[in-house]
């Protein structure tokens, strides 16, 4: 039985094709058309496996773009999908911290992949992947280099939470001659403490899986673990947790939309 999960995020679109214990994935930028990105991810998955639409029992769409992809059988929020995917990726995980392009979420689960409670950041971009991108640009760096640049540096205090004000703050810190690594470490800490504050209100997770694009940044992960005081892990497939969760839910509760 083949099922597919398509996670159309604000920055990247992830697709997972699941069959028994095997699964394959694709990742591509969402760009300006979530609908097109979702469709391309789906077709690429089918093409790689030599399958056609009718071979797939159920396709579940998730992520902010889930409403714009027409070929899915059902849409489920990324919160439910991340909880399910995390359970598959990290046995025993009972909390998921997901920091994506435009929002961050903390999800408390029952340890079996079901959501017990969750919190999401407010509607601004503070403490998200977009925030890191803006700051990286102000520092003349690529977002993928941030962790390396900040390694071992003593974090400087960043007081602004708003993306726009934080960018101004970073620029003035640079003007004062503060070391770039220290500024980046400060930014990492500010992202982590913002998310940790959300997590505190949900209750204690024992084992935390860190997912979403920002999970690729080890600097943020380190501060998260420190702020949360719990083991906070990233697995190689962390970014795919939502799409994988969608494919798993498609297999467990398959639905077929009339077409």
């Amino acid at each position: 039985m083949y099922t597919v999960g398509i996670d159309v995020g604000s920055v990247t679109t992830k697709g997972v094709l699941l069959n028994g214990r095997d699964w394959r994935h694709v990742i591509r930028p969402t760009g300006c058309s979530p609908r097109q990105a979702g469709l391309e991810a789906f077709e690429e998955l089918l093409g790689q496996a030599g399958l056609v639409r009718d071979d797939i029992s159920c396709v579940i769409g998730t992520g902010y773009g889930r409403i714009s992809i027409p070929f899915i059988d059902k849409a489920i929020t990324e919160i439910t999908c991340h909880a399910r995917g995390a359970h598959h990726l990290l046995e025993g995980a009972d909390m998921v911290v997901d920091i994506g392009g435009q929002d961050s979420k903390v999800i408390l689960t029952d340890g079996r992949g079901n959501v017990v409670n969750f919190a999401m950041n407010d509607k601004c971009a503070a403490g998200t992947g977009r925030f890191l991108e803006v700051i990286a640009a102000a520092l003349g760096a690529d977002v993928s280099e941030l962790a390396d640049l900040a390694r071992g540096a003593e974090p400087v205090q960043i007081s602004s939470m708003c993306t726009v004000f934080a960018e101004s703050e970073v620029i003035s810190l640079l003007a004062q001659g503060v070391d770039r690594g220290r500024i980046i470490a400060g930014i990492h800490r500010s992202v982590a403490s913002r998310v940790a504050a959300m997590a505190e209100r949900l209750g204690k997770g024992g084992l935390i899986l860190f997912t979403g694009g920002v999970a690729k940044n080890d600097g943020v992960r380190e501060f998260l673990a420190r702020e949360l005081g719990r083991e906070t892990l990233v697995v190689p497939e962390s970014q795919l947790a939502g799409a994988l969760g969608a494919a798993l839910l498609a297999r467990e509760k398959p639905v077929r939309k009339e077409r």
Binding site: Y64, I67, T77, N114, V116, F118, M120, D122, K123
Partner: protein, 385 residues
């Protein structure tokens, strides 16, 4: 099957704007009220028409922001914006306006609003757990009575007060009966329709006629329910909405809750049960002013500190309406409800055994997708999906 009566309720706010104008032309005085603490019995006893002025629409907010700070709650901005743009027929029709010191934002806004209308601000006590609170509030009632008599050039007598108490109690009871149809599972009326029906009470010019319409609607819904018909499938998660007031124009959270697969079965907020739960004591031996004061002081609003009545009411409603999840709606910058949300969260978690979510938003549509994600995930959680 949607009740036929709903069509009447849908058009009532617009239709009644004309009725208010006609009544004015016939010499009736109109008194605008901003909040559930305004004692409509005094207005009725003065022979005037009470109308609701609480701003629930986005449209006048930009005009209000020319004067008021942007990070103020949308209800205050909308209320003020309607007044300064002269776009609310009910504000325009008001000969006199009653306001209350419910929160800091409102009381200072009323100082600005006083330029536009003759306005009286009632001073609420901070809490109800001090010995002088009721006496304070009774004095405020007496002061309001004097102001009304002076402005409307009438005398409010005990007999008229007692009649107004009975009429207002009947209205409350009729509305409560209407709300209680949704104790049935599945609910026979959508939360959206319920909101439309209960919200227009503030624009009912003829109270008797209004009560009659509410009773007819309740009867029609009971008949529909009797045939086992509901807009919801069995098992649809049943939501209790608590928090800030909601009205037509700012119903987006109610709409999303139902679009995302929930059924809003009960309104705890001051649009709903909060103001209907308590009736004014009709005991003829008592001073009617004291009975009115006592009843209004029982309203469990977050502006009262402490406010245990709200928690008790939520517990009761969760049981009475077989609620599966509590949604606490806070308008942005409504400090009292946002902060009290933490107490509600703990109370619901520890005493009600159902999930709780606080949603903070404003009247705009800018965060619809983010809200949809939160709300869908909450409903998915209730469904154990």
């Amino acid at each position: 099957m949607r009740p036929q009566m709903m069509k009447i309720f849908e058009n009532m706010r617009a239709d009644n704007a004309l009725t208010v104008q006609n009544a004015k032309d016939n010499g009736f005085k109109v008194v605008g009220m901003f909040c559930a603490f305004s004692p409509q019995e005094l207005v009725l006893a003065a022979g005037a028409l009470p109308v609701s002025l609480c701003g629930t629409r986005q449209e006048p907010i930009p005009a209000a922001e020319k004067t008021l700070p942007r990070n103020l709650c949308p209800l205050i901005k909308s209320s003020f914006g309607f007044a300064v743009t002269d776009t609310c027929p009910y504000f325009r029709a008001s000969d006199f306006v009653i306001a209350e010191t419910t929160c800091d934002g409102k009381k200072k806004m009323f100082e600005l609003l006083a330029q536009y209308k003759p306005l009286h601000v009632m001073h609420l006590p901070q809490g109800t757990d001090r010995s002088g609170a009721l006496q304070w509030w009774l004095e405020e009632m007496n002061l309001l009575k004097e102001r009304l008599e002076e402005h409307l050039e009438v005398t409010i007598n005990q007999e008229d007060l007692r009649a107004a108490i009975k009429l207002s109690n009947r209205e409350r009871q009729a509305l409560k009966n209407l709300l209680e149809v949704n104790r049935l599972d599945p609910a026979p009326l959508t939360g959206m329709d319920m909101l439309t029906a209960i919200w227009v009470r503030g624009f009912n010019v003829d109270k008797e006629e209004g009560i009659g319409l509410i009773e007819q609607l309740t009867e029609e819904i009971r008949n529909i329910a009797g045939q086992g018909i509901s807009p919801f499938a069995k098992g649809t998660p049943r939501i209790l909405l608590t928090g800030c007031p909601v009205g037509t124009g700012c119903e987006k959270v109610v709409r999303l809750l139902e679009e995302c697969g929930g059924s809003v079965v009960c309104y705890e907020n001051c649009t709903g049960i909060k103001t209907l739960e308590y009736l004014v004591d009709e005991d003829e031996q008592r001073d009617p002013m004291e009975a009115i004061a006592e009843r209004y002081l029982q309203i469990p609003c977050s502006c009262i500190s402490p406010n245990p009545g709200r928690l008790e009411l939520i517990s009761k409603l969760v049981a009475d309406y077989q609620v599966d999840g509590v949604v606490d709606l806070s308008w942005q910058a409504c400090h009292t409800y946002i902060v009290e949300g933490e107490l509600v969260r703990r109370h619901v978690r520890d005493n009600c055994g159902v999930p709780y979510i606080q949603l903070e938003t404003d009247y705009s549509t800018s965060d619809i997708e983010q809200l949809k994600t939160r709300i869908s995930a909450f409903i998915e959680m209730l469904n154990g999906s």
